[in-house]
């Protein structure tokens, strides 16, 4: 029952920006559902196989902005074969056919083809924003289509995609009439770009706020661009190499000094450390600094740079900063909210890197810290307990000890107590990744205390099914659970099958779950898709041997049943 005319309801709903609020509102009653669905313009789909394009468009005819996520998170780490799925083409095709007025498309871990990009560029007259994160399957030809055909393009943001570079002139495809660009990020492209075309494009894009260049753009071009774009807020440099005595470098310094608005800095894909002083003037205003791809900046240069950045809120760096460097961060960056420390040495040779000391220093110096990703050589329970006490506001806590099963090196104990302290202290924790030697005890703590937990990543942890059961039972808000190489089996999987309909997805690989267990689950829960990824044809020979262990299982709730685009090696039970 409602006493408001629908126009009023719609106006009120306009103020609801978050998807959760809109989802909640649509469940109140039928008329609210109807008003909401006709007024919703932005839709987020966390699993592209949970629904299909037709039903989406049916429900939300005024769709203008769509966010889609495809492959499971562990696909980032090569655990999912390339052709598993996550194709965006059917979505673009359906929206084009049904006349959706699409303006924004955001994709993560999806397979995007040049045909898809071409169709996208031709089908939606008002298309403004394309953001691709960790996607693959397309080439610079697809980008050329976007550049050529999207007349009102404001944003083209490519983050960490695998793009085949055809050495074409995609940048030159932006017509002279295109002056609407606000954000351009092509840092992940491997090939050369037409520098003259880039300079001309930048010169006519007076609304440009965010620019991230790839490694092929030299400092000379950067200087020319900055001279014309002092209004930039977000800059990612390409190559930052020059002779500090050259005219080019002098011009760069002058141009940078005029860029009073830059708040976010990244790039330095190639860098000569002696050139870094040019950016010191803008460091004072930086709130975001991403040096995680700047392998050329080492220890002391890195520290020197950070000393200038007193206002940092978000910092992404490589572990070559060392514990001492993190100490400098702790004393300099009092406003720090998010820290990510990535490994610079990927083959475990042992040098460089940070330890628990660095993390403790950060926690002591940066009370506003709430989001952490930390790759380190070792961790202790004492350190974690201290961190938990210093920073009770963590919402995201991801710890990756490079050797995943080592105990606390001081006490030789598992890290159960340390992580237990984290979940107990951080009442708002929504995302957690574990590592180190861990027993069922840590899962007991998680189930008991992590009330807001939505995503949990587990590797090489636990002793028995009890561990997984504690989590499934205790974490009421759990949405995504991903487990690799842990001894959880059918008992854990099958005890509370209803739980999975309250979650987005469950991933289990190299665990103790058997084919029989998965079949049972699939039978009991028709609204779940239980997929077995069967590489190497291990199961082809004996598909009825229910005792064999399943290498990779991915299950997710879905309103549209088994997907029809699964490759041969994916079985939906």
């Amino acid at each position: 029952m409602n006493y408001f005319p629908e126009e009023v309801l719609e106006h009120v709903f306009d103020f609801l920006k978050s998807h959760r609020d809109r989802n909640a509102v649509s469940l109140v009653c039928k008329s609210w559902y109807r008003v909401e669905r006709f007024s919703r313009e932005r839709v987020f789909i966390g699993n592209c196989y949970a629904i299909n394009p037709d039903r989406l468009i049916e429900r939300f005819p005024r769709l203008r902005s769509l966010t889609l996520k495809g492959k499971p998170h562990f696909a980032d780490f090569n655990l999912v074969p390339h052709d598993w799925g996550g194709f965006v083409y059917p979505w673009i095709d359906a929206m084009a056919k049904r006349g959706v007025n699409l303006e924004e498309l955001r994709l993560k871990r999806m397979v995007v083809s040049d045909e898809g990009l071409e169709l996208l560029s031709r089908s939606f007259v008002n298309f403004k924003s394309l953001i691709l994160v960790s996607c693959e399957g397309f080439t610079t030809d697809g980008l050329a289509a976007i550049a050529s055909n999207c007349r009102f393009l404001r944003e083209l943001d490519l983050q960490e995609n695998e793009v085949e570079d055809h050495r074409g002139q995609w940048l030159s495809c932006f017509p002279d009439s295109c002056t609407s660009l606000v954000s351009l990020n092509f840092a992940c492209l491997k090939g050369e770009v037409n520098l003259a075309a880039l300079e001309r494009l930048m010169a006519r894009s007076c609304n440009l706020r965010s620019l991230k260049l790839n490694h092929a753009v030299p400092l000379d071009t950067l200087q020319k661009i900055l001279a014309q774009a002092p209004q930039l807020v977000d800059l990612g440099t390409g190559s930052f190499v020059s002779d500090p005595d050259s005219e080019t470098f002098r011009r760069l310094r002058t141009a940078i000094q005029k860029c009073a608005s830059i708040k976010s800095l990244s790039g330095f894909l190639e860098v000569a450390p002696c050139c870094l002083p040019a950016i010191y003037p803008i460091c004072l205003n930086l709130t975001t600094l991403n040096l995680s791809y700047a392998q050329g900046i080492h220890g002391s240069e890195l520290i020197k740079l950070i000393r200038h950045c007193g206002k940092l809120q978000r910092l992404w760096i490589l572990d070559c900063i060392g514990d001492k460097g993190l100490g400098v961060v702790a004393s300099t960056c009092k406003e720090l909210q998010e820290l990510r420390v990535f490994p610079s040495d990927l083959h475990g040779d042992g040098h460089a890197a940070v330890t628990e000391e660095g993390l403790v220093a950060i926690s002591a110096g940066c009370p506003k810290l709430h989001s952490l990703l930390y790759f380190c050589q070792q961790m202790t329970n004492a350190a974690l307990i201290t961190v938990a006490k210093n920073c009770p506001n963590f919402t995201r806590f991801r710890l990756c000890i490079i050797n995943p099963t080592i105990p606390d090196p001081v006490t030789m104990q598992p890290l159960d107590e340390g992580f237990g302290a984290i979940v107990q202290s951080c009442k708002g924790l929504r995302r957690l990744s574990l590592s180190g030697l861990l027993t069922d005890q840590v899962f007991l703590y998680i189930g008991m205390y992590a009330e807001q937990l939505e995503m949990l990543s587990v590797a090489f942890a636990g002793d028995s099914d009890k561990g997984m059961l504690c989590v499934l039972n205790g974490c009421k808000k759990l949405k995504k659970l991903e487990i690799m190489d842990s001894p959880f089996g059918n008992l854990a999987l099958l005890t509370d099958v209803g739980k999975y309909e309250t979650m987005r997805s469950l991933w289990m690989s190299s665990c103790e779950v058997t084919l029989g267990g998965c079949k049972t689950l699939a039978k009991k829960m028709p609204r779940l898709n239980v997929e077995i990824i069967n590489e190497g044809d291990q199961m082809e020979a004996t598909p009825d041997d229910d005792r064999q262990k399943v290498e990779k299982m991915y299950l997710y709730r879905s309103l549209v049943g088994a997907r029809r685009d699964a490759p041969d090696f994916v079985w939906t039970l």
Partner: protein, 185 residues
């Protein structure tokens, strides 16, 4: 380095890139062998260890597919840095009066001393001693290079790292031109 590929036109170093082992961790289908329980999954070997499969668990676990949890994009961009080192960085070397040019791999040289010795061997000449004030004394030759801006610079003024990233080609100047550089700069 990418610079070479551009300036040498059709060389297309990427296509003929020599990799010293498996091409990174991009092919889980081939590398993911049947799993053995209790955390000792067979791991994809990478050339960098040179056959360390028999090594400690620590090393092995560090290379299990899916661990450490680093995005393949990130892994690949770091790895390509390593392979760039392996392909070498060849620049043309011309000498005034010589009938044809030579090529030298800058990556093989650890510094200016190595480079100059290599050039001296290649053209059977002596280059002389470098000094900041007077350039190269003691011979009629002066080693110069063309940098990214297209200017001809004297070899030796800037740090080695900066030199190799900005050097497009080398030219050994001879005679009066060289004298002009060598004296009173």
């Amino acid at each position: 380095m990418e610079i070479c590929a551009v300036y040498e036109g059709d060389l297309n170093l990427k296509a003929t890139e020599l990799r010293l082992g498996l091409p990174g961790t991009d092919e889980p289908e081939k590398q993911n062998m049947s799993s053995v329980r209790n955390n000792k999954r067979a791991s994809p070997d990478t050339a960098e260890d040179g056959g360390s499969k028999g090594d400690s668990d620590a090393k092995k676990q560090a290379q299990v597919v899916g661990w450490p949890p680093i995005r393949s994009y990130r892994k690949n961009s770091f790895q390509s840095k390593k392979t760039e080192v392996e392909t070498g960085m060849y620049v043309k070397v011309s000498m005034d009066g010589a009938p044809y040019l030579r090529k030298i791999d800058l990556k093989v040289c650890k510094g200016y001393a190595d480079l100059l010795k290599a050039v001296e061997n290649m053209f059977k000449l002596t280059i002389g001693e470098y000094s900041e004030r007077e350039g190269y004394k003691g011979s009629e030759y002066a080693p110069t290079y063309e940098d990214k801006d297209g200017d001809w610079m004297l070899v030796g003024d800037v740090p080695w790292d900066m030199f190799i990233s900005s050097c497009k080609r080398l030219r050994i100047m001879k005679g009066s031109e060289a004298k002009g550089l060598a004296s009173g700069v």
